[in-house]
Symmetry: C2
Subunit: 281 residues, 2 copies
Amino acid sequence: MNKSDTVSIKSTEIAGKKSLHVIKIGGNVIDNSENLYHFLKDFETLDGYKILVHGGGKVATQIAGDLGIEAKLVDGRRITDIETLKVVTMVYGGLINKNIVAQLQRFGNNAIGLTGADGNFIKAKKRPVKTIDYGFVGDIDENSINPGNISKLMEAGFTPVFCAITHDGEGQLLNTNADTIASALAVNLASLYDTTLIYCFEKKGVLQDIDDEDSLIREINPEHYEELKKERIIHSGMLPKLDNAFTAIACGVKAVIIGKSDDLGNIKNNKPFGTRLSKTT
Amino acid sequence: MNKSDTVSIKSTEIAGKKSLHVIKIGGNVIDNSENLYHFLKDFETLDGYKILVHGGGKVATQIAGDLGIEAKLVDGRRITDIETLKVVTMVYGGLINKNIVAQLQRFGNNAIGLTGADGNFIKAKKRPVKTIDYGFVGDIDENSINPGNISKLMEAGFTPVFCAITHDGEGQLLNTNADTIASALAVNLASLYDTTLIYCFEKKGVLQDIDDEDSLIREINPEHYEELKKERIIHSGMLPKLDNAFTAIACGVKAVIIGKSDDLGNIKNNKPFGTRLSKTT
């Protein structure tokens, strides 16, 4: 082995794994065509591997209404009956997913739109009936994601765009929370890629004062998170989001960023974006 | 080079290209869950690479009706207005496509459901308005298909399942005839694979007597086709189908088979299946 061989091996070791961004968008991006356009344009410019995960939005509710299918709630929890499953399969898997793919292709990104059934990428289990029958809702566990299969697709040059539909491996499609899918993808791909998970939501990130967008907290590590909880700066709705984020980080995800879709371009421009959660700040 | 090397190289040369079946199914398979189940089970057992192409079926008409969208016809030709495009994107690209994929996964086939927008696999041009404005209908030309991209997906271990939706590369989804998509895929992949194109339809194949399923013509070559046309054994609706089939064969497709989906399993069992059109019989 000569000197240059040693250097090249060292540099590979330092360079480590390739970078991957898993980005989740929800109704506030999907329902606004201008927001969606700008987000997808910025998404396209991100370096490295990337995966987009999207949920539903108002259009699903609207089409369900037009078809005379009423939202079913039991004890305030949404139920996915067979008719609702049909609507979400059509709207998430067809209308929203394929329009996002067509836009990304327009911007030069080789996107491919998916449910968890495609490529057997995400297998879920129909939620067991205890006190409530949630219908065709799929829960993800540690064996749900097939990282090798997803990696093969990305290595072949395609950008996966997942909607919030999974399958049970027995021919049944299931409705699965998009946040959960994004987190599970990031955790399962963290062994293969240097993975950052990004949740786009309606605020600029985690705020000291919920009414003041200028009070953005730039970085939070686990110790800082415990303090913020004690001081009740973070409470109610943000708690499960951040708990899940720190679980993903404990499972190998490098960082979780919570931010506004408008600001995604900041990553490319080396400007701060949202609230960055990681082991160390 | 020793003797065994020579033998192995020769055998590769003799074996030539890998085999590919491009199979198109329509409403008579899609609308009948039992037919669809048996077809997909037989599809899974086919050796070599395979691509499934499907059209719509009654469910699209039914959902359009439920949404209050009436079929628009001008001079007897169907028009795809923006509302109809939404319905076909939902029903073909979501409901039908993803349920087929979930079934194929159940049978152990690593299917992945696609429109032409996904992976930029099939680009079409919105049909120009001459006397009739067909709306969002996409026409395919010789540059529409990206065989290298499709090949990458298949070589990565996935089975493409295409619905009858394409895109214009500028962000617009388009409605394209499924027969045309199947034929264009077969023609464009014929340089890479030993390609057979199969159209499943409601009859056992091309019949001498349309009312007698036992009068199946097993094989037709171009000369025989000319005779059958002269004798008016083949006429009206079958003419464009067979003309297109012989065009595909002239463009490199090894054979086109027209048959009933129930009989697809015959291929695996080395039994005759449908009417086989090829250069030589």
